[in-house]
C-alpha cells in the first residue's frame, strides 16, 4: 500500500506530467484563464485518463505485445483513446446528461491530448502491472489537475496586475509556468 502511495505522490508532485515532463502544455495554457474552466478540464482529464490507462494497457499486453508490434503503440493508442472518448461521450449523453453537460467541450478536447497519450505510453514502457497502471493514470491526471488549478489561480491574479504589454497573456503565462515548474523541481528530493 505504502508503495502505491509513494508512487502516486511521485506521479503527482515529483514527475508531474505538466511541470516535470512537459506534456499537455496546450490545454495547460488554453484552459487556465479561469478557475472554473481549469477545474472542468482537470475533472475531464482524470475521468478519461483512468479509462484510457486501463484500455491502452490491455491493448498493449493482449494485442501489441502478443503480435510483437510494440512499434505501433503511438498510432494504436491514438485510435483507441479517440474511440474511447467518443464512446464515453455517447454513453454520458444518454446515461448521465448532467455530467455530460458539466464536462462540456473538454471531453472531445482531450481526444488528442498528448498528456493522456504520454501517460498511457509511460504505463506500458515502464511495464506497470494493471493496478499500477491505473494508479499511475489517476495520479498523473491528478497532478495535471493540481498544476492546472494552481496555474489558473495565479493567472486570475496576474489579470489584475500591471503587466507590461509585450508580456501580457500567454507570454506571462509561459514565464509563470516556468517558475512553477522550478518550484516543483524542489520535490525531486522526495523520490
Amino acid at each position: 500500500m505504502t508503495e502505491y502511495i509513494v508512487f502516486a505522490v511521485s506521479c503527482i508532485l515529483v514527475n508531474n506530467i505538466l511541470l516535470a515532463q512537459f506534456l499537455g502544455n496546450c490545454p495547460f495554457l488554453g484552459t487556465s484563464k479561469k478557475m472554473e474552466t481549469a477545474i472542468g478540464m482537470a475533472m475531464a482529464v482524470i475521468f478519461v485518463l483512468v479509462m484510457a490507462g486501463a484500455i491502452t494497457w490491455a491493448t498493449d499486453i493482449y494485442i501489441l505485445k502478443r503480435f510483437d508490434l510494440e512499434f505501433l503503440r503511438t498510432i494504436a493508442f491514438i485510435l483507441v483513446i479517440a474511440s474511447l472518448v467518443q464512446f464515453v461521450e455517447m454513453f454520458l449523453k444518454k446515461s448521465i446528461p448532467a455530467l455530460y453537460t458539466g464536462l462540456g467541450i473538454f471531453l472531445p478536447l482531450i481526444t488528442t491530448n498528448c498528456a493522456v497519450l504520454g501517460v498511457c505510453i509511460i504505463n506500458v514502457q515502464e511495464e506497470f502491472t494493471f493496478v499500477k497502471a491505473l494508479v499511475s493514470s489517476f495520479a498523473y491526471a491528478a497532478g495535471f489537475g493540481l498544476a492546472l488549478v494552481l496555474f489558473a489561480g495565479l493567472r486570475e491574479r496576474i489579470l489584475l496586475a500591471r503587466v507590461p504589454k509585450p508580456l501580457q497573456d500567454t507570454s506571462i503565462g509561459l514565464v509563470t509556468a516556468g517558475l512553477i515548474a522550478l518550484a516543483f523541481f524542489a520535490f525531486k528530493g522526495m523520490a
Binding site: 472542468g40 491493448t59 494485442i63 501489441l64 503480435f67 508490434l69 512499434f71 505501433l72 498510432i75 494504436a76 485510435l79 483507441v80 474511440s83 467518443q86 464512446f87 455517447m90 454513453f91 449523453k93 444518454k94 446515461s95 462540456g104 467541450i105 473538454f106 472531445p108 489579470l159 489584475l160 496586475a161 500591471r162
Partner: protein, 693 residues
C-alpha cells in the same frame, strides 16, 4: 509489415463497430434545429459566446437560452441565418454593442481614496465601491481587461471608451463590470430605453421630456463630431430641426451651470447641429430593425404621431400615418407660424422620417372617412391616436360669434393652408385686432397679425405678464415687435355694429387673488371697472383640447375612456395604453395642449408600449422609472469651480425687417459660437462635472 497493417485495420474495424453499435444503443433524440444552428455558427469552438463550444451554443439557442446573435465570431449574417432557422423575430438578430453609460471617471477621483489591488471588482468586494456616486464608474478598467477584442480602452478622462467597430457584443465587459455601467444592447434596446433612477444622467437629461442624452451630444459638438451629435439626438427625438426652433427648453432650467452662472444654451446647440445636417444636404443614415410583419396605424401626423411612427418603423414595424390635413406636421405646421418654423425646414425633416418607409394617407378624418373598424379589418394590429388638440375653447362671452371673431387655431390653420397653397381662401384681417389669451398660440396670432399688416395689435390677458404661460422669449419678441399688452383684463362682451361686425371689446379689470390649482394667482374682477377697446377683429386663444367627435354611439371607440377635458385617458401615464388594449395615445390628445418635446417623448413612450403589445409582452412601465422625477443626489444647491462666462445670445433678424415678412426671425448661431457654448457645458453626469478651473 502485413501484420501491422492487418492489426491496425482490425483495430480500426473493432473501434468503428463498437462506436457504430454505441451510437445506436446510446442514441439520444436531438432537436434537428441544433445541428442546423450549429452549421450556421463559426465552428471555431472559441467559447467567446460564453458556452462550451458551438454545439452547446446551438443547443442554448434552440432552448431559448441564447439569442440568434450568440456567435461573436460569425457576425450578423450568421445571426440572421440562425434567426431564420428558429423562426424568430428577426429584430433580435440585431448586433449587440457595448456602451459605457458613465462618463464620470477621474473627474470624481476625489470621491474615494483607495490604494489596493488594481481592480473594480476587488474595490467593490473589499469596500463596497467607496464612492459617493451610487453608480459611478470606478475607472480601474476590469472591463478593459475582460475584453478579448481590444474594443475598450481607457479614455483621457479616466473612464473606459468602447470602440463600436471592434465590439462584437460578447458581453464579457458587462459581466466584468461590478457597477452595471457597461451594458451590451441592440439598437432596438436603445430605442426602447427610458431614463431610470439608477442611470448615469445629468440634470438636463433628466428634465428633457424627450429624454435626450444632452451632455453626450454637446460633448460630441465640442469634439467636432457633428454627425455623432445628430445621431445622439435622433436616438430619442426625430424632430430635431423643429425642436431646435420651437422648444421652450425646459432642460435649461435645470442646467447645473445655471446655478452659479447662466445655463448653457442647449436648444441653440440642438438647432445648430440640426441645421448642420440640413445645410450639409447629406442625411445621416438611420438604421431600422428587420421587418416584423406587424402593421400599425398612426392617426394624426403631428409631433406625437411622427415620433411614434418613427420609432415603430425603426423597431421594424409597418407604419401608416392617417391625417386629416393635406400635409403632415399637425400643430407644428398649422399652429406654428412660418417665421418660427419655416415650412421648408419642416418638409425636410418630415421627408427624412418618411424615407424610413412610413406610408401616409392624407386628407382623411377619423370618424368620417375611416374608423377603427375599417382599420382592424385592414389588418392593423395596433392603433396610435395622436389626434392633437385642434378644438379651441370658447370664450363664453356674449357676442363672440359676430363677424370678425375667430379662434386662434382656426385663424392660424386657415392662414397656413392659404400660405401653402392648400386653400384658395385668403386670410382677411382687421386694422385693430385683439388676441385674448396668454399662451404661445396667442403670441403666434399677434405676431402673425403684425406681419399681415394689422395697425394695432393687442394681447388681452386676465393675469399679469409674470403669469403668462407663453415662452418668455416669445413674449419679449412680441414686445419688441410693437404688440400692446393689456394685462389683468377679462373680456365680458363683444359689441358689434349694425352689420354684425365686431366694433368693441368690453373687458373688466382684474386683480390677483389666492393661487388656484395651477399654482397661478386667481384673477378676481374689480367691480365697476368695465373698459372698452375699439376693434375690428378679435381672436380668442384661451386654450384648446382634442376633438373627440369620432366617439360615436355603437362604434368601437364609444367605449374609449376620455377625461373631462376631452383628452384620451390612459391606463397608466407611462405606458399610454388606453382602456381598449390595442389603442395607445400620446401628445396633446393625451396631455391637452402642451409642448412639442412632450409630444415627442410621449410618442416614443407609446411606441415602446405598442412594440411590447405587438411582440406579445406584458405592457408595463419601465422598471425603476425616472418619469417626471429627479435623482435627488444629482440636484445641487451650489456648484464649485465655475468661472462666469456669458451665454451666447440668440441671433435674430432686426425688428423692422422681420415684421415685414414671414422670414425666419430667430437665426442659427455660428460654428464658433456653438463651440464656445459647447465648451461652457460642464459635461455633467449624476454627480460629476468638469470644472472651469
Amino acid at each position: 509489415m502485413v501484420e501491422a497493417i492487418l492489426l491496425m485495420l482490425g483495430l480500426g474495424a473493432v473501434c468503428g463497430s463498437i462506436l457504430s453499435i454505441a451510437s445506436k444503443v446510446f442514441y439520444v433524440y436531438e432537436d434537428p434545429r441544433i445541428s442546423q444552428v450549429e452549421g450556421s455558427l463559426a465552428g471555431a469552438n472559441c467559447g467567446g459566446c460564453g458556452f462550451a463550444g458551438c454545439s452547446s451554443a446551438a443547443e442554448a439557442v434552440v432552448k431559448g437560452k441564447a439569442l440568434p446573435n450568440v456567435c461573436i465570431v460569425a457576425g450578423s449574417e450568421s445571426a440572421a441565418a440562425v434567426a431564420a432557422i428558429m423562426g424568430l423575430d428577426a429584430g433580435t438578430a440585431e448586433p449587440l454593442k457595448s456602451t459605457n453609460t458613465c462618463e464620470g471617471g477621474l473627474r470624481a477621483a476625489d470621491k474615494y481614496v483607495y490604494n489596493g489591488i488594481d481592480s473594480c471588482n476587488a474595490l467593490v468586494n473589499f469596500y463596497g465601491g467607496k464612492r459617493i456616486c451610487t453608480i459611478g464608474c470606478l475607472g480601474l478598467g476590469d472591463c478593459i481587461k475582460a475584453c478579448t477584442f481590444d474594443a475598450i480602452h481607457m479614455g483621457s478622462n479616466g473612464f473606459p471608451v468602447v470602440d463600436e467597430d471592434k465590439c462584437v457584443g460578447c458581453g464579457a465587459c458587462q459581466k466584468a463590470c461590478p457597477k452595471d455601467i457597461i451594458k451590451i444592447s441592440t439598437m432596438s434596446d436603445k430605442l426602447l430605453d427610458f431614463n431610470k433612477m439608477d442611470d448615469a444622467l445629468s440634470p438636463c437629461a433628466q428634465t428633457c421630456p424627450a429624454e435626450i442624452d444632452i451632455s453626450k451630444y454637446i460633448s460630441q459638438i465640442k469634439f467636432g463630431d457633428y454627425a455623432g451629435a445628430v445621431s445622439t439626438i435622433r436616438e430619442r427625438n426625430p424632430l430635431l430641426l423643429s425642436c431646435g426652433r420651437v422648444c421652450p427648453h425646459p432642460c435649461e432650467t435645470k442646467c447645473r451651470r445655471g446655478i452659479e452662472d447662466e445655463p448653457v444654451s442647449i436648444n441653440q446647440l440642438k438647432r445648430f447641429i440640426a441645421d448642420f445636417e440640413m445645410n450639409n444636404g447629406k442625411r445621416i443614415p438611420i438604421k431600422c430593425a428587420q421587418p416584423t410583419g406587424k402593421k400599425v396605424a398612426v392617426i394624426g401626423g403631428g409631433p406625437a404621431g411622427l415620433s411614434c411612427a418613427y420609432f415603430l418603423r425603426r423597431l421594424g414595424h409597418d407604419v401608416t400615418i392617417f391625417d386629416m390635413m393635406p400635409k403632415l406636421g399637425g400643430m407644428i405646421r398649422y399652429g406654428i407660424p412660418e417665421y418660427r418654423l419655416p415650412k421648408k425646414v419642416l418638409e425636410w425633416e418630415i421627408e427624412g422620417i418618411l424615407n424610413l418607409g412610413i406610408k401616409t394617407q392624407m386628407n382623411v378624418r377619423l370618424g368620417t372617412d375611416f374608423d377603427i373598424e375599417s382599420l382592424v379589418a385592414s389588418g392593423y394590429d395596433s392603433i396610435f391616436l395622436g389626434i392633437g388638440a385642434w378644438k379651441d375653447y370658447k370664450l363664453g362671452a356674449e357676442g363672440e360669434n359676430l363677424k370678425g371673431c375667430y379662434t386662434g387655431i382656426d385663424f392660424l390653420t386657415k392662414f397656413a393652408l392659404n400660405q401653402q397653397g392648400d386653400s384658395p381662401v385668403p386670410t382677411v384681417i382687421g386694422k385693430k385686432c385683439a388676441v385674448i389669451g396668454g399662451g404661445n398660440t396667442a403670441i403666434d396670432c399677434v405676431r402673425t397679425l403684425k406681419r399681415l399688416g394689422a395697425e394695432e395689435v393687442y394681447i388681452v390677458y386676465r393675469r399679469t405678464r409674470k403669469e403668462m404661460p407663453a415662452n418668455l422669449v416669445e413674449i419679449e419678441a412680441a414686445e419688441h415687435e410693437g404688440i400692446k399688452f393689456v394685462f389683468l383684463a377679462a373680456p365680458v362682451k363683444v359689441h358689434g355694429d349694425e352689420n354684425g361686425n365686431v366694433k368693441q371689446l368690453e373687458y373688466i379689470t382684474m386683480k390677483l387673488g389666492e393661487p388656484d390649482a395651477s399654482g397661478r394667482r386667481r384673477p378676481v374682477p374689480v367691480e365697476g371697472s368695465e373698459t372698452f377697446i375699439e376693434l375690428d377683429m378679435i381672436i380668442s386663444a384661451i386654450g384648446q383640447g382634442p376633438d373627440i367627435s369620432f366617439k360615436k354611439e355603437g362604434s368601437r371607440l364609444a367605449d374609449l375612456t376620455t377625461t373631462r377635458w376631452n383628452t384620451i385617458g390612459a391606463v397608466n401615464p407611462e405606458t399610454l395604453q388606453s382602456n381598449i388594449p390595442y389603442i395607445f395615445s400620446a401628445g396633446d390628445a393625451y396631455t391637452g395642449a402642451s409642448l412639442v418635446v412632450e409630444a415627442i417623448g410621449g410618442g416614443r413612450r407609446a411606441a415602446r408600449s405598442i412594440h411590447l403589445y405587438l411582440t406579445g409582452k406584458e405592457i408595463e412601465p419601465v422598471p425603476n422609472s425616472l418619469y417626471k422625477k429627479y435623482i435627488p443626489e444629482s440636484i445641487f444647491k451650489s456648484v464649485d469651480g465655475i468661472k462666469k462666462n456669458p451665454r451666447t445670445p440668440m441671433p435674430e433678424l432686426p425688428v423692422e425687417e422681420r415684421i415685414k415678412s414671414f422670414e425666419e426671425s430667430d437665426l442659427v448661431i455660428t460654428e464658433k459660437d456653438a463651440l464656445n457654448e459647447a465648451n461652457r457645458c460642464l459635461t455633467c453626469c449624476r454627480i460629476c462635472y468638469n470644472k472651469d478651473l
